[in-house]
């Protein structure tokens, strides 16, 4: 699929509010038929959109990571069986039924991709960004991961191996990044604020304590 919106949809601005794009019209038609025929409850539609637009997001994953940084017992449970461990923090649900957490080390960096579609741990990270779902990332994360990371501004030491996880089944991956140096004084919420979405996909690292201060 195109990573820039090209053929089928018109980004904001090309259509004034008073004029609907062909895609808006096409989707409205489908929606009205599905609702009219009783297949779709409009309230369910609203609830679904509201859930994934506003409730789930990478703040959930950040809480998990921060807890793992401060609590060795939790960290051990998380790496051994991530799904129940995340449930301890109330994190889980659709798209996170079978979680796997993989920990970065100085020797090994982890990177998550779904070459075949867009599998992503929704309840932990929210809906995936467009680049995660797009051909440039999906095609090259498995064959040229260092080149891909460089495009994110991340250059790893040559000696640090890369483990790429292609989400080809219903397991969903989250990367547990290394705790940044100089964060010994920070409490759990402050640590969570260092944890970026990309650091939990493997295309970034957590912010450093200076960046956030």
């Amino acid at each position: 699929m195109a990573h820039h919106h090209d053929h089928d949809d018109h980004p904001h601005g090309t259509h004034p509010a008073s004029e609907l794009s062909p895609m808006e019209l096409r989707v409205r038609a489908l929606e009205s038929i599905l609702v009219e025929k009783g297949y779709v409850d409009p309230a369910a539609l609203d609830a679904l959109i509201e859930t994934y637009e506003t409730r789930v997001g990478p703040h959930n994953g950040a809480r998990v990571v921060a807890r793992a940084w401060v609590d060795p017992g939790f960290r051990a449970r998380l790496l051994a069986d991530a799904t129940p461990a995340m449930h301890e923090l109330g994190v889980g649900g659709r798209g996170g039924e079978h979680m796997v957490v993989v920990a970065n080390t100085p020797e090994e960096h982890n990177l998550v991709v779904c070459t075949l579609c867009s599998c992503y741990p929704w309840p932990v990270l929210g809906l995936p960004p467009v680049w995660y779902k797009s051909p440039p990332y999906r095609s090259r994360a498995v064959i040229a991961p260092r080149a891909v990371l460089a495009e994110f501004g991340l250059t790893l030491p040559a000696a640090q191996r890369i483990r790429v996880w292609d989400s080809t089944a219903e397991l969903r991956y989250m990367v547990l990044p290394m705790r940044p140096a100089g964060t010994e004084e920070l409490d759990e919420p402050a640590l969570a604020a260092l944890v970026t979405r990309d650091s939990m996909i493997g295309t970034g690292l957590p912010l450093t304590a200076e960046r956030i201060a």
């Binding site: 699929m1 195109a2 990573h3 949809d9 980004p11 794009s21 895609m23 019209l25 096409r26 989707v27 038609a29 489908l30 009205s32 038929i33 599905l34 009219e36 025929k37 009783g38 297949y39 779709v40 409850d41 409009p42 309230a43 369910a44 539609l45 609203d46 679904l48 959109i49 994934y52 637009e53 649900g93 659709r94 996170g96 039924e97 079978h98 070459t115 075949l116 579609c117 309840p123 960004p129 680049w131 797009s134 051909p135 440039p136 990332y137 095609s139 090259r140 498995v142 064959i143 994110f152 040559a158 000696a159 640090q160 191996r161 483990r163 790429v164 292609d166 080809t168 089944a169 397991l171």
Partner: protein, 225 residues
């Protein structure tokens, strides 16, 4: 299927282009497509694997030039027609005119929070013992099904190591065809990057995939005669 969706190892798409401060959705219609696809996915008429199959069945050129939610929309339009829920005339006239077909369930607004917080696990018991064990060397089979499969082309024929045995899971290849969940043992198999891509590949990386048992074969010497 060897369609436009099977992207691992392809060239020519240009650099990754992260968007700064990306919104969750880029247009109102994307939200609606997302919600419609999720709601219809719970109607019991098809399943998640069938939806993936419908998306990847778009002609490769169309798949690769459509935005993400445009692919979802086109697949959903096909699915509702294929299953007789909506007629082509209804879609072209934008008006419901045919009687509604029965669906197994209609997701209600008040159910969403609980159902989606609980999720829809796809692990299933499998009566037979697992054929492969941790550390086994296995070969990804050279299969090329015309239907849905979750074994990407880039690992087929390659030898990897079983690094996890996950239990039984719904088998997407049959489930996508609504031919049964036929659960199988699921493994994580790790491949060395150099083995997958050749000596000119980037050094020092490995790729792990989740592979169903029937995707794998025990290592036997290849027929060389």
């Amino acid at each position: 299927m060897n369609g436009g969706q099977d992207l691992g190892g392809m060239h020519g798409f240009g650099p990754v282009a992260p968007e700064k401060d990306e919104p969750r959705f880029h247009a109102e219609w994307e939200k609606r497509v997302f919600g419609l696809a999720m709601a219809m996915g719970l109607s019991g008429t098809w399943n998640l694997d069938a939806s993936r199959s419908a998306r990847e069945a778009l002609p490769p050129g169309e798949y690769l030039t459509s935005s993400y939610y445009a692919i979802w929309l086109k697949a959903l339009e096909r699915q509702v027609q294929h299953h007789g829920l909506v007629t082509p005339e209804e879609l072209s006239t934008c008006t419901a005119s045919a009687p509604a077909a029965p669906v197994k369930r209609v997701l209600r607004g008040e159910e969403v929070a609980l159902l989606f917080a609980r999720g829809f696990p796809s692990d299933r018991p499998v009566p037979d013992p697992a054929r492969f064990s941790l550390g086994d060397r296995v070969r990804a089979r050279r299969i090329n099904p015309v239907g849905h499969t979750r074994l990407p082309r880039y690992v087929r024929g390659h030898i990897g190591t079983v690094e996890a045995v996950h239990g039984g899971f719904v088998f997407p290849d049959t489930n996508a065809q609504l031919a049964g969940e036929a659960p199988q043992w699921l493994y994580t198999v790790r491949f060395c990057g150099r083995d997958l891509w050749g000596d000119q590949a980037e050094p020092g990386h490995s790729v792990s995939v989740n592979a169903f048992e029937s995707y794998l074969e025990a290592l036997e010497p290849e027929r060389i005669a």
